[in-house]
């Protein structure tokens, strides 16, 4: 009897132990992954390599004028996740927005003797009111970016791969960058007040008894704005030493984008004061999208363990 009990009891106990062991076995199967690196054999596209990346940047949400900037980014990647470098670009193409064209058209009509509204009192008042703000060629008074130079630090926290239709695989990394930016701007020059320049100076010379002469094209001046810049981007590595890049950048600085007298007078300085100066600059979160083609040197690539 005892033997029969043992015969039944021991296998039962063994089976119970078997279940717990099986669970433990399952854990052990995944156990070797514990402590292992997240990625093995990672292609180190950045580590101890220089990157030269010609780039084209497009400004976003412009009020009066859009910019296309041509430039390049130079980066030395100390590690695969940290790089030091600089980005520079100049304003190669400047294109007015629809609003600027509309303002230009309205101003042309305002000072056009053949316009049906030319002789009305409303237009005459309009001519008087806008002379301080709009010159004959409105485009010439808009704030423009001459060039930008920005030393920057780049952090690459995310590295992976991209699968497109399970057919195309591209090494990809996502990076953040930040640094100071030196922005060389050209915007309307100061006038009125102590500057001794008449903001509403008319084209030509002599008196204007009929109030018919438009204002002269406004003078502009260059200045340097120092602004923080930051952004994020993606690099798509097409080979051992080539890549495509797409990044978004923010630049925060103040500018008088339209060249208007909009502030400095009245309560809280929120009304025109007859002068154009720094009080008319508005702080703006300037944004741009950059497309680049990167080349990494040396051209041979290393792999992690």
């Amino acid at each position: 009897m005892m033997r029969r009990i043992l015969t039944v009891a021991l296998p039962t106990a063994a089976l119970l132990g078997f279940s717990s062991q099986a669970s433990a076995q399952e854990n052990q199967l995944t156990g070797p992954l514990a402590g292992a690196p997240a990625v093995r054999g990672l292609r180190l596209h950045r580590k101890q390599r220089f990157e030269i990346a010609p780039a084209v940047s497009f400004t976003l949400l412009d009020e009066y004028q859009r910019h296309i900037l041509l430039g390049a980014r130079l980066t030395y990647n100390v590690t695969d996740w940290l790089g030091l470098g600089a980005w520079g670009a100049f304003g190669a193409v400047k294109q007015t927005t629809g609003l600027s064209d509309r303002i230009q058209d309205a101003n042309d009509q305002r000072f056009n003797p053949r316009s049906p509204n030319f002789t009305t009192g409303q237009e005459s008042t309009g001519r008087t009111l806008v002379r301080a703000n709009i010159g004959k060629d409105f485009k010439q008074q808009l704030a423009t970016i001459n060039w930008i130079f920005s030393p920057q630090i780049t952090a690459v926290p995310f590295r992976g791969k991209l699968s497109l239709f399970q057919k195309i695989f591209v090494d990809t990394d996502a990076y953040f960058f930040a640094g100071p930016a030196f922005v060389n701007l050209r915007e309307r020059a100061d006038c009125g007040g102590s500057s001794g320049v008449d903001c509403a100076a008319r084209e030509g010379s002599g008196p204007d008894p009929g109030n018919v002469r438009p204002a002269a094209t406004k003078a502009t001046a260059s200045r340097m704005a120092i602004a923080p810049t930051f952004g994020l981007g993606l690099s798509f590595y097409t080979g051992q030493w080539t890549s495509f890049g797409l990044e978004w950048r923010a630049l925060m600085y103040s500018a008088n984008t339209g060249g208007f007298d909009i502030a400095g007078g009245g309560e809280g300085g929120r009304f025109p004061d007859g002068k154009v100066d720094k009080s008319d600059r508005e702080f703006k979160f300037n944004q741009m999208i950059t497309v680049s083609f990167g080349m990494q040197f040396p051209r041979t690539i290393k792999q992690s363990d």
Binding site: G17, W81, R102
Partner: protein
């Protein structure tokens, strides 16, 4: 004494069949039966088998007898020993079935693979040879000699394997860049609350909350709806930029503006891109990218700028097409962050930039001007919750 070595899950049954001890191994069991001076009363029969393959039962020793109690103890001890042995084995080795599980005789299998011959040359013996010789013939290829068991009991039976030669064998395994979809989407519902804001309207920004609900017909294709509410609960989230007023004052040029009320659309989503990223070289997170497009309505109305004294506009719904791109980053298998850029294209209705004279100024027919095609580019940032939360993969990883 019976020693079992195994690399997979299995089941052992003890049957009293004509006095024989029959051990059935359900799957991928590599069995070595070794008898060491045990006074067995009944013949020991070991029956390794693999599901779906013929059994190759063999009698390993006759002439010994053992009472039932001792058999039970031995089987119990074997059962306890088996999982521990299995755990100790390196992964992957168990994928090869035992020689005895094939239709080929053990000696033939070994003739083709001389490097797998165990020491002692026992492979030349027939399959029904005594148990003392059988383990060598049945020893699994690639068995680790240091795994204990047979090697400790009888070094002459310890299998010898050229690991360098074994490692150099090509492995025709198909490798995928992404072995298994981290989060299956098929037959799941995605609930996606989001916050949207306009990217291309410098005159009036249109921030608003919204919600999208998508049902994934396949892993890459979904049908769903989304809606955005720009004036929730009587408030108005549309923001007229300060520079509009400045421009009107400085240049005496009014720009017609519109504010949005709501939008709703039926959409199709296609997910052609998915992958994974390593964060800080330490953790892996998964993402996918998708294309979305659809058809719906967008309700808006002009903001009275040119003649605010007389004009008050009502909202009108316009047919709106939309198309966009999105990126989804998974925190776990049912919770993700979503970023999306969506273009809503519709025929707008702007305020007239001229004012009719006298009483005609109050006539609504004179209030409306151009009907341009408007492209409203919105960024939508939100969360995605997939329901149900869990699922089962059709195939193992």
């Amino acid at each position: 004494m019976i020693v079992f070595a195994t690399t997979g899950n299995f089941r052992l049954d003890k049957k009293a069949n004509n006095g024989d001890l029959v051990v059935e191994c359900a799957k991928r069991v590599e069995v070595a039966c070794h008898l060491v001076r045990a006074p067995l009363l009944e013949p020991c029969r070991v029956k390794p088998s693999i599901q779906g393959q013929p059994d190759t039962s063999r009698t390993v020793r006759k002439g010994y007898r053992m009472n039932q109690g001792r058999m039970g103890l031995l089987v119990a001890a074997a059962l306890l020993a088996v999982p521990a042995t299995a755990s100790a084995q390196k992964p992957g080795k168990g994928a090869k079935p035992p020689a005895g599980a094939t239709d080929k005789p053990a000696d033939k299998a070994d003739e083709k693979k001389p490097e797998d011959k165990p020491a002692g040359g026992a492979d030349a013996k027939p399959a029904d040879a005594p148990a003392a010789d059988a383990p060598a013939a049945d020893a699994p290829k690639g068995e680790d000699p240091s795994a204990g068991g047979i090697c400790d009991l009888d070094p002459s039976q310890c299998p010898q394997v050229d690991f360098d030669a074994a490692a150099s064998k090509p492995i025709p395994a198909q490798m995928y860049a992404v072995q298994q979809l981290y989060a299956l989407r098929v037959r799941r519902v995605e609930v996606n609350p989001y916050w949207s804001f306009s990217l291309n309207d410098q005159f009036v920004s249109h921030p608003a909350p919204g919600m999208a609900i998508n049902y994934y017909v396949t892993n890459v294709l979904a049908v769903g709806v989304n809606g955005t509410w720009y004036r929730p609960f009587g408030s108005n989230l549309n923001q007229d930029s300060a520079f509009n007023a400045q421009t009107r004052r400085a240049a005496r040029v009014g720009v017609p503006l519109t504010e949005y009320d709501w939008s709703a659309a039926l959409n199709f989503t296609y997910v052609p891109v998915y992958g994974k990223f390593a964060g800080f070289g330490d953790f892996i997170f998964h993402y996918d990218a998708y294309i979305v497009g659809g058809l719906g309505m967008l309700s808006n109305r002009p903001i009275a700028v040119i003649d605010p004294d007389n004009r008050t506009f009502d909202s009108k719904a316009h047919l709106a097409f939309n198309a966009g791109l999105g990126l989804r980053i998974f925190f776990n298998r049912w919770f993700a962050a979503v970023g999306e850029v969506r273009n809503y294209v519709f025929q707008d209705q702007l305020e007239a930039t001229t004012i009719a004279r006298d009483k005609a100024a109050t006539d609504k027919a004179t209030w409306y001007g151009d009907k341009p095609i408007t492209v409203n580019v919105q960024a939508q940032v939100g969360l995605a919750i997939f329901l149900p939360f869990s699922w089962e993969y059709r195939l193992p990883k």
